[in-house]
Symmetry: C2
Subunit: 346 residues, 2 copies
């Protein structure tokens, strides 16, 4: 019999609530013969306040034993900005070499968008996850004085860029429209821009069926609100990917339904799946959070582990649930989770 | 009698067409006693192709003699990406220390927006113009090999950040709502992020009437499409400003009406005013370009030089013109310019 050994990190704020529903749906959709084992980890603000620790070597060793990781949300207004982000979230992405940050955007029927005219949106962003301005390179001199200088260094390697570009081409090739856009700012960031552009063009030769285009990141924000239907697969740098995936989430139904995977395609380390939204401390503990983004992240997790049919059942259940929401009273976090669990089981 | 000695850089693509209309409206609005002198410079792709030059020391000396600069657009698909951007546009911003890059966003009555529900949009972005990832610091090793490493260095100084933050506070203080948002990514780019945040908080103490908030750049893209009415003045870094001002232009009527100023508030060097749009080679020479963004840039130019009443007349003329467009056949570049010239003169 098969098994799925999952690390669960509820984290802060609404994290616990949404993860509970994610696991509920996961249990409901998994085939009978798959033994689901979960182990919960207490990472996040509570542990940081109690022990000063964010993510130790021992933690990483423990997480490494799992097939995958499901994360709720990390972040708390009581912790200085950057401590949990750099000390936990980014540390984990870097330690487990999560270089493919996968963020699908699909505007489902019945879902509200801030855009007029309900455009057709169905694309996926492949965001590089281990390089760029996210490496933590840089520093500060004369801190706190009028002569302070602070630098941030974006590091881009042929190795790191090629593997994520190749991953994006493979994904584009597998989709009906077979389109791939590179988003960068190669007219200003010429060193990194030329590396990205050259590798993109080189790898493109191996995928003659894929239609490619290049777009500056500033122009891309315009197209995301005026012609979002234009996009199929996007590949981009870590920082540009951070920015445009929040915008993409906003136009395709909001961060309440935006899922993401931090993927290590080699399988050397477990991949991590999480909703794009944060810990939302203002509504935490009130049963108000929408668990849909977490449930969709569970679908990404299942697809990553080869459970394609089960992932598809979750996607369908979410579509059906969202399509029936209009005009109905708001449901609690667990009511939405229950409804989705019933749908995937039926 | 007064004089206005203007450097005019039509540039590439639609640049010449829109600048012609900008000057037409400028002539029409200027008081009789102001002697307008203009000198045209042939910078851009044509000159680069002919001579290999983008902007020489002699060019800078010549430009320095003017009260201000009006630019159409620079950029051509026949020139490698980065050559004119780094060699002309950014070189000029850096040489003339254009550290306040001013980009107002106002959704005028009758103007189409991709957002549903026609929100109230009226804010201005103060983008830093001489630091951040735009400095050209960085480099490439092992170029073209599988071991290539390319870096981009964002340089941020207390001197550079404080002056632009202070400028933004002064602008916020002068507006009815008196709100200022700092946009950065201080949870990831912690070195630069802390410098920006600390200086912002320090300068805020001198402006107790200004309501401040901090927002990550990714979250800002969400608010720009879901709650754009929330913003009054925004201050941000060079790259984040580049990205969010294109998005801001898109939601508030498109780049056809987005104006900008590259300002040196000290007056040591002339400031430069230009539409946010590019050279649009696909429609160049056909009289199809909308000169409105250039005309609004002329208004920014006039306001910068103290001609507040004349600037206001242009803004009113543009509002009136836009309000009457719906349902009418499209006009040519010069027809729009003529109409605006008539309005400001009348
Ligand atoms: C919280 C932060 C470190 C993170 C990022 O910038 O990657 C978040 O914005 C995201 O997109 O997952
Ligand atoms: C053309 C380019 C150098 C420029 C920039 O990135 O600043 C443009 O996008 C702008 O916003 O003025």
């Amino acid at each position: 019999s098969r098994s799925l050994n999952l690390a669960v990190i509820p984290g802060d704020g609404i994290g616990q609530e949404v993860v509970t529903e994610g696991l509920k749906v996961l249990s409901a959709v998994l085939p009978q013969d798959v033994k689901l084992e979960t182990k919960e980890y207490d990472f996040g603000a509570r542990r940081y306040h109690a022990t000063g620790e964010t993510l130790t070597d021992a933690d990483l060793d423990a997480l490494k034993q799992h097939d995958a990781i499901l994360l709720g949300a990390i972040g708390d207004p009581g912790v200085p900005s950057g401590v949990l982000e750099r000390g936990f979230l980014l540390k984990l992405r870097f330690a487990f070499d999560h270089h493919v940050n996968l963020r699908p955007s699909k505007l489902l029927p019945g879902v509200a968008t801030p855009l007029a005219g309900q455009p057709e949106i169905d694309f996926v962003v492949v965001r590089e996850g281990t390089e760029g301005p996210y490496t933590g390179n840089g520093g500060t001199i004369r801190k706190g004085t009028e002569h302070e200088v602070a630098t941030e260094v974006s590091v881009n390697t042929a190795y790191g860029v090629e593997r994520v570009v190749r991953d994006a081409f493979v994904r584009a090739q597998a989709r009906p429209r077979k389109k791939l856009a590179l988003i960068h700012k190669n007219n200003v960031l010429t060193f990194a821009g030329h590396l990205w552009t050259n590798i993109f063009n080189k790898v493109a030769e191996e995928f003659p069926e894929v239609t490619t285009e290049y777009m500056h990141v500033d122009a891309a924000t315009i197209y995301l609100v005026t012609q979002p239907e234009r996009f199929d697969v996007i590949v981009t740098d870590n920082l540009f990917g951070d920015i445009i995936t929040d915008l993409a989430a906003a136009v395709s139904g909001g961060i309440g339904v935006a899922a993401s995977g931090n993927i290590n395609p080699s399988g050397d380390f477990p991949s991590m799946f999480e909703p794009v939204h944060g810990s939302a401390p203002d509504i935490a503990g009130q049963g108000k959070a929408d668990p849909t983004a977490t449930v969709l992240s569970v679908a990404l997790l299942l697809r990553h582990l080869g459970y394609d049919a089960e992932a598809a059942r979750i996607d369908e259940a979410v579509s059906a649930d969202l399509a029936e929401r209009t005009g109905k009273p708001a449901r609690s976090t667990s009511e939405i989770g229950d409804a989705l669990a019933v749908r995937v089981a039926g």
